[in-house]
């Protein structure tokens, strides 16, 4: 092989791999990404049942219902709320009044069936998506985090509720 042929082989091979990877990336971005939505955005957009998305908002105080292995609660963003059902145990930092992000899909009756629920590793933390959405709607208070941590006295988790009962 001449020098030129060698170089062409290399460049051709590299381009083939890159094109393959680019194809994978484009296909992957089309098929496997998940959109984020707040309850009011979900209400406006009429998301179809079965379409997966991430739901973010604040856990509506007083809405948490705990059963043996499943829980239901409402996620609210000030102007709308959406009931969420989740089978499994909640993360340690899950609290009423705190920010939460759930991933799943709506069922036929309009209940959001979550398969994962994320709460973040900081008691003052609010998922950024949620904070942005709340700011946009004017429901943001600078002391959100503080307010919640000052409020530890009231039972806002399944565990807390059961202990006080």
């Amino acid at each position: 092989m001449t020098r030129k042929q060698r170089r062409l082989t290399m460049i051709g091979g590299s381009l083939a791999v890159l094109a393959f990877a680019a194809g994978l990336v484009l296909y992957g971005l089309r098929s496997s990404i998940v959109f984020f939505s707040t309850p009011s955005m979900a209400a406006e957009q009429h998301i179809l049942p079965g379409k997966r998305f991430r739901l973010g908002g604040l856990v509506q105080p007083g809405s948490l219902v705990c059963r043996a292995t499943s829980v239901t609660f409402d996620v609210a963003d000030g102007s709308a709320k959406l009931p969420v059902a989740f089978a499994g145990s909640l993360p340690d930092l899950f609290r009423e009044g705190q920010g939460v992000v759930a991933e799943g899909a709506l069922d036929a009756s309009g209940v959001f069936r979550a398969d994962t629920v994320l709460a973040k590793h900081d008691e003052n933390y609010m998922p950024r998506d949620v904070a942005d959405a709340l700011k946009k709607q004017g429901h943001w208070k600078d002391d959100y985090g503080k307010q919640v941590s000052d409020n530890v006295g009231a039972p806002t988790t399944c565990e807390g509720r059961r202990v006080t009962q």
């Binding site: 990877a21 292995t69 499994g88 900081d122 988790t157 565990e159």
Partner: protein
Amino acid sequence: MIAEAGHYALVLALALALIQSTLPILGAHLRDPALMNVARSTALAQLLFVALSFAALVSLHVTSDFSVVNVFENSHSLKPLIYKITGVWGNHEGSMLLWVSILALFGGLVAAFGNNLPLSLRAHVLAVQAWIASAFYLFILITSNPFLRIANPPIEGRDLNPVLQDIGLAVHPPMLYLGYVGFSISFSFAVAALIEGRIDAAWARWVRPWTLVAWIFLTLGIAMGSYWAYYELGWGGWWFWDPVENASLMPWLAGTALLHSLVVMEKRNALKVWTILLSILAFSLSLLGTFLVRSGVLTSVHAFANDPTRGVFILLILCIFIGGSLSLYVWRASALKQGGLFAPISREGALVLNNLFLTTACATVFVGTLYPLALEVLTGDKISVGAPFFDLTFGPLFVPLLIAVPFGPLLAWKRGDLLGAAQRLTVAGVAALIAVAVLWAWTRGGSALAPLAIGLAIFVIAGAFSDLAERTGLFRVPLVTALRRARGLPRSNWGTMFAHAGVGIALIGIVCETTWNSEYIGSMKPNDVARIAGYELKLDGLTQRQGPNYREMAAQFTASLDGKELSTMTPSKRSFTTRGSTTTEAALLTRGFSQLYISLGDLGGDGVIAVRIYHKPMVLLIWFGPVLMALGGMLSLSDRRLRVGAPKPAKALRGLQAAE
């Protein structure tokens, strides 16, 4: 007093770094050895002052001086001593101080052990190190000073985030930073080479051990972090494709590619321009990782720092260094002379293939991590790119790479014999096919992909052994001769074998864990029995305990297999009163390479507790593999060639030096 001293030491370090970033370059320009040697003394002095500053912060944490904001916010007087120390870098300010300390450590090491480097190269390398250091000192002093005082000191601190109160914090961040920051050395060498417009095989020989050190720590750091997440978060997951994890994976992929291209450069004096680019990219991705984690731009489980001014500052550092070094690359790379020729089928060709796939995989991770950010900035849409995307893109790129791995070491330099290599891999291929067939028969009806993937892993492992057997003549010559040859084999050959086998072993763990793990999620009362994968787990009872700074509810389980009692497991849930938060402490029972995993959920009113029990077959191999890779790296590092250093500058270079 200690806080002010620490602050002052940091300011002095900045001053030294500013001197170090200018005078040596001037010296190199004027060919003045005295000015060039300034780099050495300032680098060592800088290390001393940063170490003092870091020691000051540690002592403030150990003595629980709550008049310092950083200590107040992240410590508590009742916290065990080990977490008082590790808490130093469990927060933004402290972790940035650790970052610069490690940077200064590497700079100091180059200064101390770089005696055999050409004077001007060392001056340039240390000057570039000092540019990075100055930027980060400024960042710490302006936006994240850990030594700030509170006017009215409180009596008690707010405690460290409970999730971080774990031995993992003692090991994971320092390891990861040693890896991240270690790539700054290859970056500085690359930029120095571009400034000097001169690069040769000796350059590669100097850079290789530094890159290896960084890569070993990064490998161990990532594996450690993964294991930490596995046992601490209580979900039993070990990799989430979380942006912060991707931030550490990208430099690892680029660094792995760099290690391989440095071999080509050292041995064959080829791929120079590409190696320089990879050196720049590996550290740029480390900086990007620091930016992603520290600026809080991501919605992420790790985001415990959230402050836009810091974000903008780091973004600025990022732009200056990445933009600057890449511009310099575009401007100067053409000045570097091209090296040796080789056929596509050759050791060089195989290493190019390795680089191609690793950098492409790195690029897909990059797209998957940054696309959501870019889309949000451009259109305002919020999306999350998760595991499905990465599984889809990463898998198909790694399969051909792994198939090629055993071939690489068997091909000759310059012009290789693919057929010959294939013949020598027959045994490995047959072993892989047998593994596939046996697994297929055994798991009939199950996933077809898993046996194939395990077959691939067996091929990689057996291929690594074939290479060794080939080199020692094992099975062809008497055993004694083979053993003698094995002892005489360069350590870097052993390193290659262990590292490649480690990849296969990790793959087996990953496939087994994801395909055959079983879980039991339910609620249990005392004396209930849960059955999983042949094991019986009986809940004996629940107890409350008091720890140093938490209350703990522990559950006792008796694990038995076929009626035989094995051991007791006590998962627990800890409530940290100061922060009003809880952590889940999983209980692990190791059987061979497999593990039983119990984590507790919420306690019900009538003594019913929610539990999650997992059986994870071969899960330990996931981390055993990287440990083996790191071991391979250490063996390579101890290779005589690199240990003695033997870096002989090219003749032209020596001639130049003599003229100075």
